[in-house]
Amino acid sequence: MMPEGKEGKVVSINAGQGLKRRLVEMGFCEGSLVTVHRSERGALVVVVNGIKYALGKGLATKIMVSDC
């Protein structure tokens, strides 16, 4: 789980077919930079490509991110 203010790179998305494609379409590609603006017990506000998204807890844990 990434702390607030931290930036990371999307490594993989462990989600089912439709959901994974959906996330990629919204900009969560492998290699995309993600900044965590808020982390609240698992639920996140992140910025990808300058777009801000709210992610529920369940979804946030499916997106694997590495330090960069």
Partner: protein
């Protein structure tokens, strides 16, 4: 000369200004908000530009041509199946990368596309430099700069649209997916091309790409075709999961190679929006801020409205005076005075409250806060088996449940959508507000505001508990993943919010002038007809609204049903007619108690013995929970597509209402309160 007719569709990501542009082109006044999912149904309008008659279709926002939720299906189906002459894609200039993703899909489909580069002034003001000439060269698509909210660039856009139609040539653009995927595409093209029904309607390459994409809609089309087995045997050789995401990523790669050449800078920075978000999404502050905003909105609808209500009151008082003086025919006088003015007047007096309520909701919608509220509430929603996405439709229910239930189309998960629809009527809509205002005002004096706030809270609690109950029993399942774009805040302009308020307010006025008017006239008519065996003239003083009228007889028939709740036959009748529209509960009480237009007179009669604070509270709770109005029932049927669920909702709500009012009455009586 015969005018040329063309159809254009406005497509684009959510919240890029499609509806604003639609309004700017057609002069319509469709509702615009600042949250993803404002438009859930396609809307059409007309515009004549030079010698061309243009039909403009505003589509719900979508991130791609693969649909996940119902509103996206509407958009996808229109572009793919109806094939408009030109698709105008509205591209948010501050957000090129993701917007161009949809462009690549439209290009692959072979749609004729014109890009409206919207909000480019915002992009420019933060230092982006977008080279539209290069953009046109790379994409081979005309690009027109627009600022929809100031109606800039509209003519240039239409000019380009007309030119694009006249051009006639049609080329499909390709995204290159790399050797491995391309091989599969070619293989599939060979197979799909053999089915002339399919290849006649859709580009073959596009079909093949979509199959590898795992697009369910296209897979279904193939299932029913002559090449189903062959296609499936090819698809069975690949690992679907890998392909889907890989292809989406390839599209992004294509965009990313082009992007640096057409746009300099183009990165978002920490902004004003981020600062607000630090507070409103805070772990500890998020929910208190939300509640404080609700409370403030609530206060405004009451305190500011009070002096305005005097004006409405004066108007109806004056009107009643004019009628009393000038109409000599007793029947007509009674119809106007005891029927229409009493009935409609008792509803209309609350117009200021309703307008302010709508203004508050408009401010909330236009600012961009809605999506944040969804985030803040996600955890609570998760606990009841839904996700934050269900929260916006619930919040909208405070205005009117009908559009709120339509708004559930943005919810991807079918079961979650169903549950959100079923509990939505418990969120107290604007039409129920007059009932509370009247009763609480009469019986609870200075505490009226608190009592009404309590009723709203009760509605929310019942909605939440019902959702949990339904989700745990008849519609089981885990909450689906929650993801929602948080759009940048925009300062709502007073003008836009006022227009928005007026639009909803005028619906209320129209309702008062039609359905409520008809309802109260009908109630008056029934109360003016003498009961069988009663020797009195039609609409004579001594029977009007009494047990000697026809309505009295009918009321007494249904009275036993609500007698255990402490309601008399007049309340019973009012509740029955409240099914037409909830305001009629008050309107028909105005007629039945024969109080004329004067709100205070009705309050006096009620407090003088017709009701007690206890039964008034019971009636408020009953009105909150029992079967929603006919328009709401209609939309529940339409959106669930099921009479079974619609009936379930009606019976469940009414049963709850009965039980709650019964408990209030019995417990209150037992402890000797409010007698």
């Amino acid at each position: 000369m015969e005018k040329k007719k063309i159809t254009i569709a406005l497509a684009g990501n959510p919240n890029v200004g499609k509806t604003t542009l639609f309004n700017a082109i057609t002069g319509a006044r469709q509702h615009v908000g600042n949250w993803p999912g404002v438009t859930v149904e396609k809307k059409t309008g007309k515009r004549t530009y030079k010698d061309t008659e243009i039909e403009v279709v505003d589509l719900p926002g979508t991130y791609s041509l693969t649909a996940y939720s119902l509103d996206e299906v509407v958009a996808r189906d229109y572009v793919v199946e109806e094939i408009p002459d030109v698709v105008v894609q509205i591209v948010d200039a501050t957000n090129l990368e993701r917007n161009l993703y949809l462009t690549t899909q439209l290009m692959e489909l072979g749609s004729k596309v014109v890009i409206a580069l919207n909000m480019w002034d915002l992009a420019e003001s933060r230092g982006d430099k977008i080279d539209t000439r290069k953009m046109e060269d790379f994409l081979e698509i005309p690009v027109v700069k627009t600022v929809a909210n100031r109606a800039e660039g509209i003519d240039a856009l239409l000019e380009e649209v007309v030119r694009e139609v006249d051009k006639g040539e049609h080329h499909e653009h390709e995204v290159s997916y790399g050797d491995d995927i391309e091989k599969k595409i070619i293989e599939l093209e060979g197979i799909v091309g053999k089915d002339s029904a399919l290849s006649g309607k859709y580009p073959v390459r596009w079909l093949s790409v979509k199959l590898l994409d795992g697009d369910e809609n296209i897979l279904e089309k193939i299932e029913g075709s002559s090449v189903a087995t062959q296609v499936n045997s090819v698809l069975s050789t690949i690992k679907k999961d890998d392909y889907e995401a890989a292809m989406a990523e390839k599209r992004y790669e294509t965009i990313n190679t082009v992007l640096p050449q057409i746009c300099v800078k183009c990165v978002n920075e920490v902004t004003f929006s981020d600062m607000i978000d630090r507070a409103v999404t805070n772990k500890y502050l998020g929910i208190p801020i939300f509640l404080a905003m609700m409370w403030a909105a609530f206060e405004v609808t009451f305190t500011v409205a009070t002096p305005l209500m005097e004006f409405v009151d004066m108007f109806f008082g004056w009107l009643a005076g004019v009628v009393a003086q000038s109409i000599t025919n007793p029947v007509l006088g009674s119809l106007l005075g005891d029927g229409i003015i009493a009935g409609v007047g008792s509803v209309m007096i609350f117009l200021p409250n309703i307008l302010l309520l709508f203004l508050m909701i408009s401010l909330l919608e236009d600012s961009g806060y809605m999506a944040r509220a969804a985030f803040v509430m996600d955890k609570l929603m998760y606990k009841i088996g839904l996700n934050g996405g269900s929260f916006i439709p619930l919040l909208m229910g405070f205005g009117c449940n009908v559009p709120a239930i339509m708004a559930t189309r943005t919810i991807e998960d079918e079961k979650e959508r169903l549950v959100t629809i079923l509990v939505n009527p418990f969120i107290s809509c604007g039409a129920r507000l007059p009932v509370y205002l009247m009763l609480a005002g009469a019986f609870f004096g200075r505490n009226a505001g608190t009592v009404i706030f309590g009723i709203y809270i009760l509605g929310i609690i019942v909605a939440i508990l019902s959702a949990k109950l339904i989700r745990g029993t008849v519609v089981k399942g885990k909450p689906s993943p929650f993801i929602m774009e948080l759009p940048p805040y925009r300062l709502p302009t007073l003008k836009a919010s006022a227009i928005h308020m007026w639009e909803k307010g005028s619906i209320y006025l129209k309702k008062a002038g039609t359905i409520i008017l008809a309802g109260v006239v009908f109630v008056w008519l029934l109360s003016a007809i003498p009961a069988p065996g009663v020797d009195a003239a039609f609409a004579s003083e001594e029977i009007l609204g009494t047990e000697d009228s026809l309505i009295g007889v009918l009321g007494h028939i249904i009275e036993p049903l609500v007698a255990p709740l402490g309601f008399d036959w007049k309340v019973a009748v009012a509740l029955v007619f409240g099914f037409i529209a909830k305001e009629i509960v008050i309107g028909s009480m105005g007629v039945l108690y024969g109080t004329g237009e004067d709100e205070d007179a009705l309050a006096e009669i009620l407090t003088a013995g017709a009701m007690t604070p206890l039964t008034a509270l019971g009636l408020m709770v009953f009105t909150l929970l029992y079967v929603p109005c006919i328009a709401c029932v209609g939309v529940v049927k339409k959106e669930t597509g099921s009479w079974k669920w619609t009936l379930f909702m009606m019976v469940y709500g009414t049963a709850l209402a009965w039980i709650a009012a019964f408990l209030i009455y019995r417990i209150g009586t037992a402890i000797g309160w409010g007698l």
